[in-house]
Homo-oligomer: 553 residues x 2
């Protein structure tokens, strides 16, 4: 069976830019375009040249792309002037891209209500604009409000499509601009468009996620015969976003009926790149990656339910629809309240701790983990604290240091000009073997001098002088700090999760729980340091490995 | 045309609990169950009685529900014992709920590979377990791995369904456990199941979002004849989550073909409650609400593109598929100062502050609110802080008191028996007119003597002696305290939201933002007291209403 070609068109840099809170620089755009190109996306829509300074700057110095077609977006000409004399269209053409995509209205209501021109004038504008582009470039026509228009006046929408086709458009992209059309209706309408004589090989789909169906709408259009999908990375876009290419691509490459019917520009071996691309976008936007994202989320192959986890250990296909490695992801079996001993063993093995299945200490560890999780600890997230706890209970955790006491003070008073001034200060007394060190630190941002609070002060004081361990922790930094109150009101218990990173880019997570947020933070900060010392094999100051499990707070 | 009844089944408290990072308390569960009931959800699956302490505690003291059926989840009995003698099943039955949903395997591979019993034994287990439940309760059968099973061995999956049906199951729920089946395939298989003789009025769909299609899968199953949809709030659940009821419900109630074919237990007038329900869950999980969530996201009706925004101002239907008010949401046009001011006036009116449309102070308030929201304040949640800010900017806020300074200390040291002891202490110096009061308080739970942290100490010190205001605040108590870090790493800003309550059961919310968590808490605590004094019309000590807007931290 010969494979049909399915074309992928990315509009992260144009429609994605319409999302609230998204504001790419020209440099961001170039970086994203090159990554999309490296993956094998066919079209990269870069923006609307002339519409804003960033898009103009991006097209003035476009990134070099190996395979993808860089595409400029614009609008069909206005009525009352020729395509050659329309300055908005001229701005788009001047970007000099190989492909140009023009949006035009196809819903009769919008033509008369928003544009205020006759239906015939609009059809003539589409034909003339597309012909103007097609004379020197590859032309795509973006049929705005196509599905709403088709429901209101099918003949008119088809007349618009045919005008673009006759004008020389390579692709007619059917847009569900308002995002309200459901998958079954999109499938039916695409089939009717093809039945009217427009070949599916010329049709694209541009879906929005206003009903949470953008991915399914794209698949329904392909099922009905369309051969181009438009979407964005992580589904960003106007309002609720666009069809998420990061979800669609693995489905198209790995799952039936698509995998054996179609080929795209993306090689299956390159699929693991997708996860990096998704993370890169989050990074540029300074967003926390969605845990639950299909295929690439950190929870996508996480098996928390006890029954699932034990079956997965026997055979991963029991609870996974694709193998995580195929998309660059990994299986994860957290320590949750429902986890059993076999789950615990595999978790320990991952931390490099080998315990035999008949070791009675397994039950003791499980009991302790469960008791702590009932108190609010969350070891499925805080892997480093889990490892420390397990090693302590196994009598394998070196006693690097003890914190004899600490004191944190937050004071707010009026400053010299009557403005409120807040100062946080921490004192830590630590002991290593026979040595004893007292450190004090304020919490001030080095540049703004703004106070950063008691946890920051405590972190600084802890990291300031750990005597013989100092070289091991000098490159550590706190990269994320999350607080959760695990039950409401004054009975609240606070859980603090801390992510730390070292100079080599290693990242680890620790947890602390207490009714006192400062004390919960202290526990997580202490674990973060202990884990680093353990991982780097720091020698224990003044004492041997401690033989028994210590009492921990 | 008579409407068919579509049944909605919520599994937030069971499958939702399987999501990584989700860990409800029994109290959280009761609160969510009651909110689902108030909306009109038909079934609320509360968890698995006997599987863990939280679920057992929840079912031991279940919340009172007006209309929804509280449902206990469990597993079909094991082979080799009777249903009456299966202790896991007994634990489920002992919860005493009106409905019980039992999961059983229907995929031949899982029966032999995971359970290690014969296919016939499994069918017999299903029949006996369902019959055992149906003898005293309404029984639902959850067909695990149904779609994968059907593709491998359709006759066997149908035999399992028929065994449950003959055992007396009211509903047969088709689960796509691994989340890999696509919408078109689900539609085809559901139609085949119905064609085999099982009535669609008995069929439910339980979809997962591993390909980003859970909503579309649910709709495809309904299109094919299924009449129950299972899902969760905000789509939380195992791995990538479940079908999102918050996305599905508005589609079912507002959009064709569903709106004129079906009725659910939810009245259209109650649809605006959905947004509050979605936010409540995020609040309990301490998650930032998804901006781009269909229908309820803050961006769902935000029109950023210039062309869209100007058309929307002429006619909202040009770029909106449903009216935002129908789902309790609101239109937002970031570009338009005009829209911002009318939004603001309606917010002020809600707080009982009447400002004329041509009042120039509106622009000043809007600028200040926006600037503060950019810094992390969240006035949508903290209505009392919004009212205080607006009244201050309008020059209508009485200057009840000033806090001249405060100091909070947290100290941890070793106790007399070598155990760690933590003590928090707060000193507050407040001024009313010419009077000045200094208060000090520790933070100790009156019964356990456990330390409750710096915020608690500060709250006690603030409430201990407010001189002439003391009678007004004596019945105040802090009922909820939520902390959110609004940006990651050391640059983090902390937002504290506090809910307070008085003796009459009034509840109000205040907010504070600072890099210092103690200071953010202080702001929210101070606003909570100020709002109470204002609402109760406390006379200002020593001074008149302050004429101008003060500088606030």
């Amino acid at each position: 069976m010969t494979l049909s070609r399915l074309t992928l068109y990315d509009t992260t840099l144009r429609d994605g830019q319409q999302a609230q809170g998204v504001d790419f620089s020209a440099g961001d755009k170039a970086r994203i375009a090159q990554a999309l190109d490296a993956l094998g996306i066919d079209y990269v829509e870069g923006g609307w040249p002339g519409a804003n300074p960033t898009d103009s700057a991006f097209f003035a110095a476009p990134p070099r792309l190996a395979r993808a077609r860089l595409t400029a977006f614009g609008m069909t000409k206005r009525a009352g002037r020729s395509a050659a004399n329309d300055e908005t269209l001229a701005g788009v053409m001047n970007a000099g891209t190989a492909s140009v995509c023009l949006v035009g209205k196809t819903h009769d209501f919008h033509v008369t209500a928003a544009l205020g021109i006759t239906l015939e004038e609009n059809v003539a504008n589409i034909a003339a604009s597309v012909a103007h582009v097609a004379a020197s470039r590859e032309a795509l026509f973006d049929a705005e409000h196509f599905f709403d228009g088709y429901k209101a006046n099918p003949d008119y929408t088809l007349a618009c499509l045919n005008a673009a086709l006759e004008g020389g458009a390579r692709w007619l992209v059917l847009c569900d601009t308002n995002g309200g059309t459901l998958p079954a209706e999109v499938g039916r309408i695409v089939a009717e468009v093809i039945a009217s004589g427009i070949p599916g090989e010329r049709l694209g789909i541009h879906a929005h996620d206003d009903t949470g169906n953008a991915v399914a709408i794209s698949l329904a259009a392909v099922d009905a015969g369309a051969r181009q999908i438009q979407g964005t990375l992580n589904g960003i876009g106007e309002r609720c976003g666009n069809a998420n290419l990061v979800s669609l691509i693995p489905t198209l490459l790995l799952k039936e009926p698509y995998a054996s019917r179609f080929e795209t520009g993306i090689a299956r071996d390159d699929l693991p790149k997708l996860m990096g691309l998704s993370r890169m976008l989050d990074d540029i936007l300074n967003r926390v990656p969605s845990r639950s994202a299909p295929y690439v989320g950190s929870s996508a192959f996480t098996h928390k339910a006890g029954l699932h986890a034990s079956a997965i250990l026997k055979d991963p296909t029991t609870y996974e629809h694709v193998a995580p490695e195929t998309v660059g992801n990994a299986r994860y079996i957290p320590m949750s309240a429902q986890a059993g001993q076999s789950n615990l063993r595999s978790r320990l093995a991952k931390a490099g701790i080998d315990v035999r299945a008949d070791d009675p200490r397994l039950a003791a560890i499980l009991t302790e983990v469960k008791a702590r999780e009932d108190r609010g600890f969350s070891y499925d997230t805080a892997g480093a604290s889990f490892e420390i706890l397990a090693r302590e209970l196994l009598g394998e955790m070196p006693r690097f240091f003890d914190v004899e006491r600490y004191r944190v003070t937050v004071e707010r008073r009026m400053g010299p000009r009557g403005e409120p001034v807040t100062v946080s200060e921490a004192v830590v007394v630590a002991r290593f073997g026979t040595e004893r060190v007292m450190s004090v630190s304020e919490s001030q941002d080095p540049i703004t001098h703004a106070d950063q609070g008691p946890v920051n002060a405590l972190s600084r004081a802890l990291g300031k002088d750990l005597g013989p361990y100092q070289p091991y922790i000098d490159d550590m930094r706190l990269v994320d700090f999350r607080v959760r109150i695990t039950s409401g009101g004054t009975e609240a218990v606070t859980r603090v999760l801390i992510d730390s990173e070292d100079g080599d880019g290693h990242r680890w997570s620790t947890v602390g729980v207490s009714a006192n947020i400062v004390d919960a933070s202290f526990q997580a900060l202490r674990d973060a340091i202990l884990w680093k010392l353990m991982r780097d094999g720091a020698p224990v100051a003044g004492a041997a490995v401690r033989p028994a499990a210590p009492a921990r707070a």
